[in-house]
């Protein structure tokens, strides 16, 4: 099994070379994306097969001479390999169709398979060196892809912030693995599993892993690169970065904290839980304030990662208190949400990419009425928006429902911090879910419904068949995940068994394919039946009205209270739609302010409205660091402009200092 994966990775690296050579050729593009599609399908199959099987391992002769490269494919790797395969296949299929619109294919085609290869290598790496090498390859390839549209405004800044945060994450993980390896230097994961760290070191390892993996996943406060970098990349790459790379970061967190770190302490769970809740709410509040469609989706990724970390935190807390059943439920809920997010976020990003190529606009205030011009894309985007808003009967609801069940599971925890934090975080999760629904009503309503607000929106055209197929595939997965969640839950059972020592009850044997998280008397949910009931009731409603009541229909101008306005500018814009929410939530959290400048009566100057929003994390954490670095750099800049005599003086002083320290030491 692992040989399949290794040959797949080699195939991807080969495709990267092909892409470098044949970038400007249409055949080259089809070869690269088609090849990636095939390889990713193979990765998906290998991942699913590895879920129930025994771990397979191998030691390769490449890499550091005294370690070699250990690779291992167990159920945790298999789960995330399947996600990589799925996301990669969809993005590649999209790329076959939409890739022809790319202006600089030589900046995208070589790095795209390398990105996929890097991600696949991370999940099968079994020693610290190969893990970090693959992590950095993943970061570098994605950075190159972010910089693909290097002439667009804001891309350079996005690339810069991204590379700084990627370096930070690599450094944190390097220190983390160094601490885990210990003075003996056992870099392979087997050595780390055999020798769990002491209590103080364990806390440090946990903190470093949280920061390092969280920086790649998008956890507050190290999420600032995500809303800059994800929109700047080409759309299918954004789908991969949001849908898949964040999951690979989650894999890193799981591997280190749940496996290599040894038995967890209860406050690990508390920290992760609280950070997850805060991330969820902050992410969705920022998403509500954005009018760039892709930045909105990037902030929504931050929110969903927060929900996943919330589940992880619950799992850690329950496991530390010996409550394995609860830990299994929380962990399965979080993993299910991660898989769901890969599906619907990829769908949404691909749809946003379709809109971008069709209209050339990312700004929602210049879109509108696309449901008439791009009906198939609009329908699939509607499915994605319903799924991400956690509404039944689609898949987003099932994972959120399972997370709520995990929160309600046991109230008799001994630690006071957990007793107070879990209800508060439950409220934050409920708030984030409601705000996410508001966010996607806004996104879909402003971009696709209403009347077109610009010429480009009025002239949009539908996407090609390949892209449509990719989006339709993801949408079908959203529906299947919602009505047959038992399949996914049972597939995830080996993963939770390996990580926390228990798994949820087998779902596919429950009558009517109901989902039962703990036991039938406690709670249950049947997505298939609900979907059937809704379909049946709408059918009854439609046939009854059409049979017994009038079915006549006329078209006329819009009523609009008798004052119809021909200009589409009187519609709500994205900013105006979120104004009530900005006033209620943004005033406190984001320091949202609105000022109106009214000219005195009789003046012909226009009135102006200013709104300002600030990101508190940026202002309090990053801006001071940035300023300190700039200040120090300014001071050190003097070193650039010294005379030759001064430079010679430096060399002389260094020599004297070394000799003096040598003298003192002896």
């Amino acid at each position: 099994m692992i040989l399949v994966v290794l040959s797949a990775i080699l195939g991807l690296l080969g495709l990267a070379l092909t892409g470098a050579v044949f970038a400007h050729n249409a055949a080259g593009r089809i070869a690269v994306y088609g090849g990636s599609l095939l390889v990713c399908t193979a990765l998906l199959a290998a991942g699913i097969a590895a879920l129930g099987a025994e771990p397979s391992r191998l030691v390769l002769p490449v890499g550091l001479p005294w370690i070699g490269a250990h690779v291992r494919l167990d159920s945790l790797s298999g789960c995330f390999l399947a996600v990589i395969g799925l996301g990669g296949a969809g993005a590649s299929l999209y790329g076959i169709g939409q890739g022809r619109h790319e202006h600089d294919p030589q900046r995208v085609l070589p790095f795209y398979p390398a990105f996929l290869a890097g991600m696949a290598m991370v999940v099968i790496a079994d020693d610290a060196f190969s893990f970090l090498f693959a992590w950095e390859l993943m970061s570098f390839a994605s950075w190159a892809l972010v910089m693909a549209h290097h002439r667009a405004k804001g891309t350079a800044w996005a690339g810069f912030v991204y590379i700084v945060m990627a370096t930070f994450s690599g450094l944190a993980l390097l220190l983390c693995f160094g601490l885990l390896a210990g003075p003996a230097g056992g870099y392979s994961f087997d050595a780390m599993r055999a020798a769990p760290p002491a209590a103080g070191t364990e806390a440090l390892v946990f903190a470093l892993a949280l920061l390092g993996a969280g920086a790649k996943a998008g956890l507050v406060p190290v999420h600032v690169w995500l809303p800059l970098a994800h929109p700047a990349a080409p759309s299918h790459v954004s789908a991969l970065m949001s849908g898949v790379m964040t999951k690979v970061a989650l894999y890193g967190f799981l591997r280190i904290v749940f496996e290599l770190c040894g038995p967890p302490v209860w406050w690990f769970g508390l920290v992760v839980l609280v950070l997850g809740g805060i991330t969820a709410v902050l992410g969705v509040l920022h998403a509500l304030m954005e009018k760039d469609l892709k930045r909105l989706l990037a902030y929504s990724t931050v929110e969903n990662i927060g929900i996943v970390f919330l589940g992880f935190g619950l799992a850690l807390a329950f496991r530390a208190n010996g409550f394995a059943v609860g830990a299994a439920l929380a962990l399965t809920a979080a993993l299910f949400h991660a898989v769901n997010h890969a599906a619907f976020k990829s769908l949404l990003f691909l749809g946003a990419g379709a809109v971008l190529t069709a209209t050339g606009e990312r700004d929602m205030d210049r879109l509108g009425g696309l449901i008439h011009r791009m009906p198939r894309t609009a329908f699939l985007m509607l499915v994605g928006c319903i799924a991400i808003s956690a509404l039944p009967p689609l898949n987003g609801f099932v994972s959120e429902w399972l997370t709520f069940q995990a929160i309600l599971l046991r109230a008799e925890l001994p630690q006071w911090g957990l007793k107070l934090a879990i209800p508060a975080v439950g409220a934050l999760l409920a708030l984030a879910a409601a705000l996410a629904a508001a966010c996607f009503v806004r996104a879909f309503g402003i971009a696709f419904l209403g009347r077109p607000r610009s010429r480009q929106a009025a002239d949009a055209s539908e996407v090609d068949g390949w892209s449509f197929a990719a989006m339709a595939g993801f949408a079908t997965l959203c529906l299947l995940g919602g009505v047959l969640p038992g399949v996914v839950i049972d597939a995830l059972a080996p993963v939770s068994q390996a990580l926390v020592g228990a798994h949820m009850p087998a779902q596919l044997s429950v009558p009517w394919l109901t989902t039962v998280p703990v036991e039938a008397s406690r709670s249950s949910y049947n997505g298939l039946l609900l979907f059937g009931f809704i379909a049946l009731s709408s059918l009854i409603a439609v046939t009854a009205t059409h049979r017994f009541a009038s079915r006549a229909l006329r078209r006329g101008p819009a009523w609009d209270c008798g004052f119809p306005d021909a200009s589409p500018a009187t519609q709500y814009t994205a900013t105006s739609f979120s104004q009530p929410l900005r006033r209620v939530f943004g005033t406190l959290v984001l320091r949202a302010r609105e000022t109106v400048e009214m000219p005195p009566p009789g003046s012909v100057a226009p009135a102006r409205i200013h709104r300002s929003i600030s990101d508190p994390i940026w202002d309090f954490l990053y801006a001071p660091v940035g300023r300190a670095v700039a200040f120090t750099a300014g001071l050190l800049n003097y070193l650039q402009f010294l005379t030759i005599r001064r430079y010679l003086g430096f060399v002389f002083a260094a020599l004297v200092l070394l000799l003096a320290s040598l003298a003192i030491w002896q």
């Binding site: 107070l420 406190l588 109106v596």
Partner: protein, 259 residues
Amino acid sequence: MNGLSFDIAHMLAGMLVLVSFMMLYQVRLYSLLHALALHAFVLSTSVAWQAYSQNAPHLYVTAAIALCFKAIIIPWALRGMVYRLGLHREVETVVGVGMTMLAGMALVALSLEVMLPATSQADPVTREDIALALSVVLIGLLMMVTRRNAVSQVVGFMSLENGIILAAAGAQGMPLVVELSVAFSVLIAFIVIGIVLFRIRERFDTVDDDALDRVRQHPGMFGAEIADERWRRPGKIEAAIASDRRRKPGLVGSGGPHE
């Protein structure tokens, strides 16, 4: 002391916390005073129930005092005072109502976290009642801190007293002498506060904290302001001095000359 009486004691203590939250939520002074009366009414019911279940007849007297003075007489007198002072019926909070309620929640969590482990050896009814009483005290303090108006600070002080009486009644054994002295000290404090409020109002035409703060910093300036305002806008002094903080950008002519 199990089953129904356990539940009723808890229910009444919980009602007191609920009414404290209602007081945090009120923005208008008259509704605040109604909430204060309700607060004292719930307190008296709770103390009467404690009297019944503990078989302590002197607590009935406490309940009667609470009902008579704190639920009827004091709110009625405060209402009359508000009317005579002609105070703005809107109470401006320092931070918004939402933040104040969140802070109230955090205080309840804090008092539960402190009290419940500390009293783990005590009688289960008493410990939860004392934890809830501490939350009422803390919420009363929060109200005093987050309101600008001196009258609403008095209301916060009254609700704080109610919390202390709830704790004392639940603790099984509060002698009548103490109750009488507590009641009369409340009364005297009320009279003193009333007199002080009248004096402040006479002297400075306002009982708003920030306006009073300005006087403290610049004793001469306030008089100069009055003179200036009289010069510039005869007849509009009341609007000028009442520190109405409502800023409605874009609306012409609201709130006076501070725009």
